[in-house]
């Protein structure tokens, strides 16, 4: 009876040691919930103080924040588009408007980057919409795909101050 118990305890300990040896290797490449981040920060690198009233051609500074939690290194592209309130943008459909600027960044897993950008709007108009869309390079398809992340700024742009 004692003999059986000794064997059982010893084998359980050996089994646990085996699991401890194998688990980190199997778990290393597993990501439970992969995701990416896109943020637009104001001129002071904070959420706020965004420009609202601008003159045509007036330059303004912002920061783009991109974060990678996908489990592998990613090549991101942020497209800045200028549209208006009649145009639609969603998590599945990017804005159908001209690209005014493009920013690329490659990020290792669990890394982020804050990119200073300077923009200006070339035409006057009320409620213009500056949309920032995140694209990710898809190795399988060999192209950049819309990654369902977008931000926007509403702008009133006048020809004179």
């Amino acid at each position: 009876m004692i003999e059986e118990e000794v064997k059982a305890v010893a084998l359980v300990i050996i089994g646990l040691m085996g699991a401890v040896a194998v688990y980190p290797v199997l778990e290393a490449s597993r990501v439970v919930e992969p995701f990416s981040e896109l943020g637009v920060l104001g001129p002071y690198m904070k959420i706020g103080d965004y420009p609202r009233e601008l003159v045509v051609g007036e330059e303004f500074n912002l920061y783009l924040y991109v974060g990678n939690h996908e489990g592998t290194t990613q090549y991101y592209r942020v497209l800045v588009k200028l549209g208006d309130q009649s145009m639609n943008v969603s998590n599945t459909m990017p804005l159908d408007a001209p690209v005014v600027a493009q920013y690329d960044v490659v990020l290792s897993n669990e890394f982020n980057s804050t990119i200073p950008i300077t923009l200006s709007v070339g035409k006057a108009g009320l409620n213009q919409r500056l949309v920032f869309e995140l694209y990710k390079y898809d190795v399988d398809s060999g192209g950049f795909v819309y990654h369902q992340r977008w931000n926007q700024l509403w702008l009133n742009v006048t020809s004179t101050r």
């Binding site: 004692i2 084998l11 290797v25 490659v106 290792s108 980057s113």
Partner: protein
Amino acid sequence: MVLYALLILLALLPTASALEQEELRAVAVEVFRAISEAERAGGDVSELVLRLNEAIRLIDSEKEVDLAQAKVLLEQVRAQTSLVQAAGVQQTTKSYLDIGATLVVLGVVGVLVWVYGSQVFLRLWVRRRVGWRVERP
């Protein structure tokens, strides 16, 4: 006539630069694909990523000098990628061999425990209690 030719050339310069910029962006994507493969093979690509970002920053600056520098940097990163990939494969193989060896050792220990464990345990138990007397209650 020469002046016109010069003016045309000057007008074309930004276009040439923009074309080169697009070409370099395509090269940057190719280099990224190579980095992804190296990472999948288990290589440490963090240094390559830093240098690729430096190249992208130079491409975005649109200056001729920077574009030339970006081109050199991209080629350097591309050349290093295969080395990192090879090192990654080696490292992954080694870690799998280590795990395999650990499991084999544990298996052998398990068999030994199964066959001789009880005898060894009882022998140790008896040796520890040598000289003890069993009294009738």
